[in-house]
Every structure is written in structure tokens, then in C-alpha cells.
């Protein structure tokens, strides 16, 4: 059965409405992944509000959704209080922890809906919003979809998720400063054109993905200014994807200072790098409102 992947928010850090972000979108992180009737929601940035409206438009029956949060920074949770399906009885949403008994994400998510922050308390949501987890192994079969997590490099921590079924694989890996995980951290400075070796465990986690959605917030120039802020430079993500034999790479979590034109230039540099290595990898910019079918 095919995976359908739709981008509802592709911007990093803070919502960026306006003409300069008109094409790629200004909402923060949110991706819908469907497999048959099973709905996964990766992150709840401001894009989640529009996903909620769309879910209500397209489905009148009770809804079940599985939330996979990368982490709890604002740009990944701000949409949740405005997620209309959470206010409807009969709907059920699961918030996944990454190990057995891990309720951190559920707890932090509910914490942003206290009166000091938001007028509606989490306890007033009419839907059933339950905490569950991926177990000790960090992997769980959900409606036949194998979901696995991987801890990434980001201030405060973050997780990537892989979803697999029927030989198809999608990896969602945002907010991950890949450059700090390189086997040779200084290499990009010494020789920007040389291949950058990523940790084999993460390469294997991404191995053979039909689609890798990955934080590629910065251009090479921007990364020099923002190293240590927790995000990847797009060209290093390209190397990860090539080493892992990924088919399509969606560069995601665009920097809020990047205009549509800047995003396109960032992708062009990535494509030049792919061409230099003779890889079949296809790179594109994640764009709000675009839906892919992986079958």
C-alpha cells in the first residue's frame, strides 16, 4: 500500500508569512504521512492548524492519528492548540514517547496549554489524547507500519523517525546538526567538495529510503554563522542521502531568513553536489501544499 506524504509546514524556527515565502510556505514543521487509513503526523508546528481543518473537511467519521514529535521546541508544537480535530469527541490521538514509559512529549505538549500560555486547558480537549510509546527497542508496528526512532544531535535532543511498509520507506529527520556528527568535523572547512562521512548507524537508519525529509536549514555560508544552533547545512544532508542510497531527498526546515529564491538557490547547490558525485539521488525543496505518493 502506498505512502502519501503531504507537507503542511516546511519552515524552521518561526512562522514566516508574506510574499517572500509565498511559494515554499511560511508555516512551521508539520508533515502528514498516510498509509491506507492510518494517519501519522510528524510534528505539530503551525502547519498543523491547516492540516486539522483539512482533516475535518475530508473525513466525518471518528479519526485516529499517531503523533511523532521530533522534539518540543516551539516551532514543532505551536500548532497543536489550534488543531481542531483535538476538540472533537470520538477522535483519538496518540502521542508517542521514544522508549517504554516515556511520557515526556505528552507532558510537555499539555504544558503549553496551561492558562499562562493558552486560554484552553489541555484537559478540556474533547478528543482522547493519549500517551503511548515505541517501546524499549524504539520500534513499534502501528497498523502494519514499522515505526522506528533515532536520537539526533540538537540542543535538548531530537528524534528522527522511519516508517516502513511493503518495501516502502519514509524517513522524517528534522532538527539535526549533522555536521557535528561527521567522522571528520573539520573536513568541510579544509575541502568543501570532499565527501563527508556520516555515522554508519544513522546512514543505516536512512538506508534505502524512498523519501528522506531532512533538516537542511542552512546554506554553506549560513552554517559558518550558525554552527552549534542545532541545524544542518543542506550540502551535508545531500552526503547523508547519497551514502544511504536514498531515492528522493526533501530539504526541509527552511531558514526563516530565506526567501523563495534563496531556497531555490540552496537546492541548486545541492543538485550540483549530487551531479558532481554522479549520484542518482533526486533533491528538491519541501514545499507547503505538496503531496507525494510513494508506491
Amino acid at each position: 500500500m502506498a505512502f502519501f506524504v503531504r507537507f503542511w509546514g516546511t519552515r524552521g524556527s518561526i512562522p514566516t508569512p508574506g510574499r517572500s515565502s509565498y511559494r515554499y510556505g511560511g508555516n512551521t514543521s508539520c508533515v502528514e504521512i498516510r498509509n491506507g487509513e492510518t494517519l501519522f503526523i510528524c510534528d505539530g508546528g503551525t502547519g498543523l492548524r491547516e492540516l486539522g481543518q483539512d482533516l475535518i473537511r475530508r473525513q466525518s467519521a471518528p479519526l485516529t492519528g499517531h503523533f511523532l514529535f521530533s522534539h518540543m521546541h516551539w516551532d514543532h508544537i505551536q500548532g497543536f492548540p489550534f488543531f481542531a480535530p483535538a476538540y472533537r469527541p470520538d477522535n483519538t490521538f496518540y502521542i508517542y514517547g521514544t522508549s517504554a514509559g516515556d511520557k515526556r512529549f505528552h507532558s510537555l505538549l499539555s504544558g503549553q496549554m496551561r492558562s499562562s500560555y493558552f486560554p484552553v486547558d489541555f484537559s478540556e480537549l474533547n478528543a482522547h489524547v493519549a500517551s503511548t510509546d515505541l517501546g524499549d527497542s524504539g520500534a513499534r508496528l502501528i497498523d502494519g507500519v514499522l515505526v522506528r526512532c533515532f536520537e539526533q544531535r540538537h540542543p535538548g535532543g531530537s528524534y528522527a523517525y522511519s516508517l516502513e511498509k511493503d518495501g516502502r520507506k519514509v524517513v522524517y529527520a528534522t532538527d539535526n546538526e549533522l555536521d557535528l556528527t561527521l567522522e571528520d568535523i573539520e573536513l568541510p572547512k579544509r575541502d568543501p567538495a570532499a565527501p563527508r562521512l556520516l555515522p554508519s548507524r544513522f546512514v543505516e537508519f536512512c538506508r534505502g529510503a524512498d523519501l528522506l525529509i531532512a533538516d537542511g536549514q542552512y546554506t554553506d555560508g549560513e552554517y559558518l554563522l550558525y554552527a552549534g544552533w542545532g541545524h544542518a547545512r543542506a550540502t551535508t544532508v545531500v552526503d547523508l542521502a547519497m551514502q544511504a542510497g536514498v531515492k528522493q531527498l526533501a530539504i526541509y526546515h527552511h531558514d526563516p531568513m530565506q526567501s523563495d529564491r534563496d531556497v531555490e538557490l540552496k537546492i541548486e547547490v545541492c543538485r550540483q553536489r549530487v551531479a558532481r558525485f554522479g549520484s542518482p539521488l533526486f533533491v528538491f525543496a519541501a514545499r507547503e501544499g505538496v503531496e507525494l505518493k510513494l508506491d
Binding site: R6, F284, G289, V290, E291, L292
Partner: protein
Amino acid sequence: MSGVGRVGDTTGQMFKDIGALTGENEIPVIPVQDLSRPCVLQQVRGPQAPQLFELVKDVLIVGRAEDADIRVPSTSLSRRHLRLERGQGTYRAIDLDSANGLYLNEVRVHSAVLRDGDNLQLGNAVFLFHEGK
């Protein structure tokens, strides 16, 4: 004079006041409907190109079928290849499980909210989307 009218209602009060200041009592009023224009699909490559299609219906079908709203007589297109649905001031393009797929700016997509200047490829036909006002 066509497109020119005397401003006398409350919505024109500000302009009227300006008119009083400048000594001009008549200013051009352009009816709103004259400023609006529909979205357009411009076929730039493929059979019968170049041609323009104004998108006035809420739902349109593009394909090689005789009854398609936008017909492209090419076997590289499916009979019903693409559906365009109006919403929020633009259109959403949805691939109808076509044999050769829908490419948006070279990316194979299942569906997409269209933006001004988008390039859509369906088989050997290429269209540019122009957003309306």
C-alpha cells in the same frame, strides 16, 4: 465616461475630501470586477501549443478524453490525467493515477496547491500556471 464616476457614497468619502482639497470633484472609479482576472493555464509545449486556458470552473479535468475540460490529444496523457480544484484563491492539481504522472517544477507529485509561475508537466505537454486576482 466609462470607468469614471462621481464619488458620492460613504466609501468614497476620503477621496471626496481629497477632491475638495485639490479642487477636483471627479476621480476615476474602476469597478472591482474589472480588476479581477481568472487563473490561467498556459500550454507551452505539446500538441496544439501554445494556447491559453482561462480557469473559470471550480473543477476541471485535463486529459486526452473527448470530454476533458482541457483536452490534449496525446497518448502520453491519460484520458483523465489531472483534476484542478479551485480553493483559497488558487487551484489544487491532483494526479488522477495517470500512467505518466504529474510533475510540478520537475518533482513528481500526487497533488499540489499551485502557485504563480508553476511548471506542470503531463506526458509531453507542459503548462505554466498563472494565478488570477
